[in-house]
Symmetry: C2
Subunit: 201 residues, 2 copies
């Protein structure tokens, strides 16, 4: 217990950035072991398979995300609709700083993985979908608050939140294709104007 055993953490740390900057298929176990300065036996002591690793990475990354810029952006102290602007800023700076570091826009890890493997592994797909759902819930809560405060007129907050998330992911996708973070600033302003009206039957 008192022993400092950080091997598992080291594996995850090393692989997080690699999955994010490249792709699931492109990062091999051997490379991971080399970068973490371990042998394969150690790797498979902690993870039954590469698939289990990516499952763990999604969890860890979602946690980083929630504790990091998401917690900042969705700061309850900010007026609700300003939080949405903050999300744009956060997305921009993240992609921008990644590009400054290694020349490429990595995009969103969850979006990347979703498009790469969600047709091939349903468990993975469901896990990524859960991450998106919790992101959507953040938006929805913010919209509900804005409606309560009278900042915006009532709307279908659930669906609008989903639409905002879609738009965010789409912006990041185009920014990656263009390899230019400015796309996010260019398209960002439209995010908080997205509205889907309540469907009155």
């Amino acid at each position: 217990m008192s022993n400092i055993n950080d091997t598992r953490e080291r594996i995850i740390r090393v692989v997080k950035t690699r999955f994010h900057n490249r792709s699931y298929a492109d990062v091999g176990i051997k490379e991971i072991c080399d970068m973490a300065s371990i042998q394969k036996g150690s790797f498979y002591h902690f993870f039954p398979s590469k698939r289990d690793l990516v499952l763990a990475v999604i969890d860890e990354f979602a946690l980083d995300w929630a504790n990091g810029f998401v917690a900042e952006a969705f700061d309850p102290a900010l007026p609700p609709m300003e939080r949405i602007d903050y999300v744009i800023d956060a997305a921009y700076f993240w992609q921008k700083s990644s590009k400054d570091l290694n020349g490429h826009i990595p995009g969103c890890l969850f979006g990347n993985l979703a498009l790469e493997i969600s047709t091939q592994d349903d468990v993975l797909r469901a896990k990524l979908n859960a991450v998106f759902t919790s992101a959507k819930d953040r938006f929805r809560g913010t919209l509900d608050e804005a409606v309560e405060q009278g900042t915006i007129k009532p709307l279908d907050s659930e669906t609008t939140a989903e639409a905002m998330l879609a738009y965010l992911e789409g912006m990041i996708l185009l920014a990656k294709a263009e390899n230019d973070p400015e796309v996010i600033y260019r398209l960002g302003p439209a995010l908080k104007n997205i509205r889907i009206e309540t469907n009155r039957h």
Copy 2:
């Protein structure tokens, strides 16, 4: 000349659906050859490398797309803003029918490839970006028409077109993660309300 030599076409046809439904990395040369009933020698007679194949596939697919539902959706006979509704319908039915066929939503080939490999191959990235640019131009032309006809108030058609494309790709991404085409119908209505105002200096 009179000889029916459809090997190249057969390779492309076989690989198009596979790249679309799985991923670039997941589809191997051997599999492609088997499915096209040829040997590796034939494959490498037509394509110098797997990378050159995917380059060709992008071209072919963009052509299919342009001649297929894009040509229909952006039918000049339709009122401009109705064309945008048509895009949603087309996206929905395509994803829906794919799911009915094999149980999975394939998403958008270009979006899939962009997120999978655009950090790893700049030529490929640029090619995909060009496809997105021409899609954006379609939207822009439609918006310009709508402005001319007075259907919508003047706006920044270039940036709004890009925003619409982002939203479309984002919807498809979420639909794939959820493996449910209904996402597209749920979020679709917001597409044509996206607006980015002209930036008056």
